[in-house]
């Protein structure tokens, strides 16, 4: 019979991985709605590069963080300031562009 700590470890890992797998499968089979993910919500609803860069920055930061945790799983790793700046900058760009497009479409309407 497995040790209870080992059992909890397997149980937790299995739950998180299966949940992650189910969400990824639903994303790939479009059961989770992805329509307009890279589209401007305001104005002409065209392709939006700032959304793509935000997603790329998110994926890069997430994969970098997970790789650091896997390297040394005894403590949550520190996030370097350069990564914080990069990630924050990406968000500022996305939000700034959204705000600008939103304001200019308001001015066009009025």
């Amino acid at each position: 019979m497995p040790d209870i700590a080992q059992l909890i470890t397997w149980e937790g890992l299995a739950f998180l991985l299966i949940l992650f797998g189910v969400v990824v499968v639903q994303l790939l089979t479009r059961q989770i709605n992805l329509t307009g993910l890279f589209m401007k919500k305001e104005g002409d609803r065209s392709f939006s590069p700032e959304r793509v860069q935000l997603l790329l920055a998110t994926l890069a930061a997430a994969s970098q963080y997970v790789s650091q945790v896997l390297k040394d799983p005894t403590q949550l790793p520190q996030v370097p300031n350069s990564w914080l700046l990069l990630y924050g900058g990406s968000h500022v760009l996305y939000l700034g562009r959204r705000f600008y497009v939103s304001q200019s479409s308001k001015q066009k309407d009025s």
Binding site: A5, L16, T35, G36, E42, L54, V66, V69, L76
Partner: protein, 141 residues
């Protein structure tokens, strides 16, 4: 004393089993669409939102990392034969809090922009009231 220890282990296994059953039930319901995740990433307008997507990704990443660190600390304690001392939760560094803060506040600001946009569009769509003295529609003059 021995009986109490057996009882402790037994209760531990039973609780573990119950939590596993809840987890399986949850995953089964999600997989069979009884828990509908279609609009997990959708905004009020029905279109997928990038800010929601990045928040979901970061929530998964931090949850998985936290779990891995807790499990790893338990293993280290067992290896060092310090099983009787219970390890606390790991410290969350400021950088991780900043990452989560950026992610969540970006989502909130994005929602604010969408809400102001929707509010303005409903305001512009509201019909203007007729000028004073105009008879109501359908009234014979």
């Amino acid at each position: 004393m021995l009986a109490l220890q057996y009882l402790e282990v037994l209760v531990g296994y039973v609780v573990c089993g119950i939590v596993a059953l809840f987890g399986l039930l949850l995953i089964w319901k999600i997989a069979t669409n009884q828990i509908d995740l279609t609009h997990l990433l959708s905004d009020d307008d029905g279109l997928a939102s990038t800010s929601r997507f990045q928040l979901v990704i970061f929530t998964f990443v931090v949850a998985l990392s936290f779990f891995l660190v807790v499990v790893s600390n338990v293993k280290v304690r067992q290896y060092e034969n310090k099983a009787e001392s219970v390890p606390g939760f790991p410290d969350v560094p400021g950088g991780v809090l900043a990452l989560l803060g950026i992610s969540a506040s970006s989502y909130l600001v994005s929602r604010g922009i969408s809400a102001s946009q929707n509010g303005d569009s409903t305001t512009t769509k509201t019909p203007t009231p007729p000028p004073a003295g105009t008879p109501p529609a359908g009234t014979k003059v």
